[in-house]
Amino acid sequence: MKKKVISTLLATAMVATLLAGCGGSAAAPAAEPAAEPAATEEAAPTEEAAPAADATEEAAPAADEGKVLNIYAWNEEFKSRLTDHYANYTKVDETHGKIGDVDVVWNITPSDDNAYQNNLDATLLKQADAAADDKIDLFLVEADYALKYVDTDYTMALPDLGITDADLADQYTYTQSIVKDSNGVLKGSSWQACSAGLIYNREIAKEVVGSDDPEEVQKAVADWAKFKETAKKVQEAGYQMCSVNDTYRVYSNNVSGQWVQGNKIVIDKNMENWVNDSKELVDAKAENTYDLWGDDWAKGKQGGVFCYFGPAWFFNFCLDADADGTVANKGGWGYVVGPQSYYWGGTWICAATGTDNASLVKDIILTMTTDKAVLKDIAQKDADCVNSKSVLAELAADESGNLALLGGQNPYKMLADGAEKVDLSNLSAYDQGCNEEFQKALKNYFDGNSTYEEALDLFYKGVIEKYPEVSK
C-alpha cells in the first residue's frame, strides 16, 4: 500500500515536473511581442518633458543603442532617486520604468546573506555571452566591497564613457578614491558623501548632559574616554547608550592598516580598542549587543536610546520620521561629530562593461551625481548629504539645510567638514567579510559566551570560509 502511494506520488511528481518545464518555455515567447511595437516612433517625448534640466537634451539615446536598460541594486533607494530627480524617467510599475523609448528594468535583490552580490556576480560572469538586452548596464556598489568589482574588467572606466575629471571636480576626493582600480582609473561615481557622526536623542541629552545644544553634547562625547563616561551616566539614568555595533564603524574607519596584508589577517590596534571599550560598556550595561537593523535595535527609534551613529542617509532612511510616535517624528534628534570622524556606506553607480546603452548610462551618472540642481533637490527632499562641495556649502549657509527631524538643526557644515577628513587608504576588497565576521564573532565575547581568544578563532574561521586564500 505504502509503495503504491509512493509510486503514485512519484509518477505525479514526474508528470508535474515535465508539465512545468513545458509551461515555462511556452509562456516565455508569448510575453515578448507585446513590448515591441511602436518603439521607433517614440523618441520624441524628450521635448515635452520638463525643459528645466540641461541634461534632458542628452537623455535621448543614440539610435543604435539598446532599448533595455538593466539596473542592478539592493534596495529601492536609487530607484526612488531616479524616479524623483531624473527628468525623463517615468515609472511603469514596481520593477519597470521608461526613459524616452528605453525600457528600464530594475533587478533589486536585497543584500541579506550576500544575495545581491551572488546574483550580480553570476550575471556579470555571464555578461560577455548575454544578449545585448540582457546585459547589465548599470549596477550599484557599496564601499565595503566596491574594490571587488572596481578592480576588475567588469566595470567600465568613466573616462571611456566620456566623463572627464572636470565633470567631477565638485565631488569629494574620498568618494572617488573608493572606486579607483589599482591603476588609479576611476570606475564609478556617487551622489552621496557619507561622512557620519553621532545622532543623539535630545530629551535624554537634556536629562543626562544637561543640555541638548550640539556644542555641549559634543563636549560630552568628544573622545572615547568622555564617551564612556557619558555612557555610564546614561545607564544610571535608566537608558541605553547604543549598540556596540553602532560604534563599530567609527573604530574600523580609523585603523592604521588593511584587514588583510599579504594574505594574512591583521587585527588592528584600533579594533582591539573597540573590543575593550565595548566590553567595558556592555559589562556596565550601558551598551547592548543588538544587531544593526534588527527589531531590538530599531526600538531605540521610539526612544530610550541615547544615540545612533550614522551619516546623512541614516536620517532619511533609518529614523522612520514618517511613523507616528518615533523620536524623529517629533524632531527629537540632534547631530554632532562624535568621538572620531568617519564615514559609512554610500552608494556608487558603476557602468558594466558591455553595456549597450553607453550614452544613457553616461547621462544618468552625470545627472545623478554631478548636476547641482538635482543634487540640491536630493539634499532638500531626501535629507541626503550630497557629493558636491558647493551644494553642501550653500545648504550649510542658509535655512534651507535645516532638518525637521533634527529639531531644525542644520548638520551640513559638520557633514561637509567630515567629508573632507575621510581617509580611505586602508580600504581593502576583504572589508565586507572581515567587518561582518568580526562583529558577529565578538558578540559572543561581549555576551560572555566565549573568551576573547575563542571569539577571535571564530572570526578567523568565518573569514577563511569566505576568503579561502587568506590565513591567520
Binding site: S7, L10, A11, M14, V15, T17, D113, N114, N118, D121, L124, L125, Y145, L147, K148, Y149, D151, T152, Y154, N288, T289, Y290, D291, G294, D295, D296, K299, A429, G433, K440, A441, K443, N444, D447, N449, S450, E454, A455, L458, K461, G462, E465, K466, Y467, P468, E469
Partner: protein, 318 residues
C-alpha cells in the same frame, strides 16, 4: 502442454514491461538529479575551485587536500554534535507526547470527543513553512520581544533573557520548534500503528485484568516496534539534514559561537566563496556519515524481521 508455459512466460514479460515503463521517469530523474550530481560532487572535491571576490581561482587538482583540511580543523565533529544534540532534544519529547496522544486517540475505551478535530489541530504546525515558523519564534523570543516582556511583567526575571546568546536557549528553541512541527506527524503515524494491532490482544489483556499501564508497556509498545523504528529512521535522516529552522533563527550563524550550527548550515557557509572543492569534500563526509547511520538502522530492521519470522516457524513446528 509444451505451449502453455511459453504463453505464460510471455504474459509475464508483457506484464513486466509496464513495470519497466513506469520506472523510466524515476530512473531518468534519478540519474539526472541524483546520480550525476553525486558523482560530480565527489569529482569536484579533489579540486581547488572558488571565487575570490569575482575572480575565479582554479580549478586546480589538489588531491585529498580538502579532506585533510576538514579533518584538521576539527569543526565537523562539533557541528555533527550540535546537530545530534538538537535532534535528540527535539526527538525525545516528540516521541513521548506522540506515544501518549497516540495511545489516547487509539484507545477505544476512552472515546475522546472530537478526536478528528484534535488530530487536525496537532498536525497544523507542520503546515506552516519552517522558515516562517522560525521567523515567528525569532520575533517572539527577541531580547525586547513579547516573551521577555511577559516574563519581566510577571516578575520572573529582572532583565531580558537573551535566548539566542545562550547555547541552551538557541538549541532549546530549535529543538522546541522541531518538536512542535513534527509531533503531530509522529502521532498520526504511531496511531496508525496502534490501530493496526489486533484488538483481540487488548481484549484478552482486559479479561486477564491488566491495567492500562500494563497494556501499554506489555502489548502496545512491543507490537509498535516496527513503526517506532520507521519513525526513528525518518526522523534521524531529517534531523541530520536540519537546516531551515536554525538557519533562519540564527541568521545563518548558529549563534552563540556556532553552538547551534548544524552540518548543513556549515555546508552552506561555503556558498559565499562558491567553494566547490571544500563544499564537495564536506558533502562526501556527510554522505559517509549518513550512509553509516542508515546501514546501522537497516541492519537493525533486517534483524527485526528475521526475529519476527522465526518464532512463527517455531509455532508451526510445535
Amino acid at each position: 502442454m509444451a505451449n502453455e508455459p511459453k504463453k505464460g512466460k510471455s504474459r509475464v514479460v508483457r506484464y513486466n514491461k509496464w513495470g519497466y515503463i513506469f520506472l523510466i521517469p524515476f530512473i531518468a530523474v534519478y540519474l539526472i538529479f541524483q546520480m550525476i550530481p553525486l558523482i560530480t560532487t565527489i569529482y569536484n572535491s579533489f579540486f581547488e575551485n572558488y571565487l575570490s571576490g569575482i575572480k575565479q581561482i582554479g580549478p586546480n587538482w589538489i588531491g585529498l587536500n580538502n579532506y585533510i583540511e576538514i579533518i584538521n580543523n576539527g569543526d565537523l565533529i562539533m557541528y555533527a554534535k550540535n546537530t545530534l544534540i538538537m535532534w535528540i532534544l527535539g526527538f525525545v519529547p516528540q516521541i513521548f507526547f506522540s506515544l501518549l496522544l497516540g495511545a489516547w486517540f487509539a484507545d477505544t475505551r476512552l472515546r475522546i470527543r472530537a478526536a478528528g478535530f484534535f488530530k487536525t489541530v496537532i498536525y497544523l504546525p507542520n503546515l506552516i513553512m519552517a522558515a516562517a515558523f522560525s521567523m515567528l519564534f525569532f520575533t517572539l523570543f527577541a531580547d525586547t520581544g513579547p516573551v521577555n516582556a511577559i516574563l519581566q511583567n510577571l516578575g520572573w526575571i529582572s532583565e531580558p533573557y537573551q535566548f539566542l546568546s545562550h547555547a541552551g536557549g538557541s538549541r532549546g528553541l530549535v529543538a522546541f520548534m522541531n518538536f512542535l512541527m513534527w509531533f503531530g506527524n509522529t502521532t498520526i503515524l504511531l496511531m496508525a500503528g496502534m490501530m493496526g494491532i489486533d484488538n483481540s490482544l487488548f481484549e484478552a489483556a482486559q479479561v486477564d485484568g491488566a491495567t492500562s499501564t500494563q497494556v501499554f508497556f506489555r502489548i502496545t509498545l512491543p507490537m509498535l516496534r516496527p513503526i517506532l523504528l520507521f519513525v526513528m529512521i525518518t526522523s534521524l535522516i531529517g534531523g541530520l539534514q536540519m537546516f531551515d529552522v536554525p538557519q533562519v533563527l540564527t541568521a545563518g550563524d548558529g549563534t552563540p559561537a556556532r553552538q547551534s550550527m548544524t552540518l548543513i548550515m556549515y555546508l552552506n557557509k561555503h556558498l559565499y566563496s562558491k567553494n566547490y572543492g571544500m563544499a564537495g569534500a564536506l558533502s562526501v563526509f556527510l554522505f559517509i556519515i549518513t550512509g553509516i547511520l542508515s546501514l546501522i538502522v537497516f541492519k537493525f530492521s533486517v534483524q527485526d524481521n528475521v526475529d519476527e519470522v522465526k518464532p512463527r516457524r517455531n509455532r508451526n513446528k510445535g
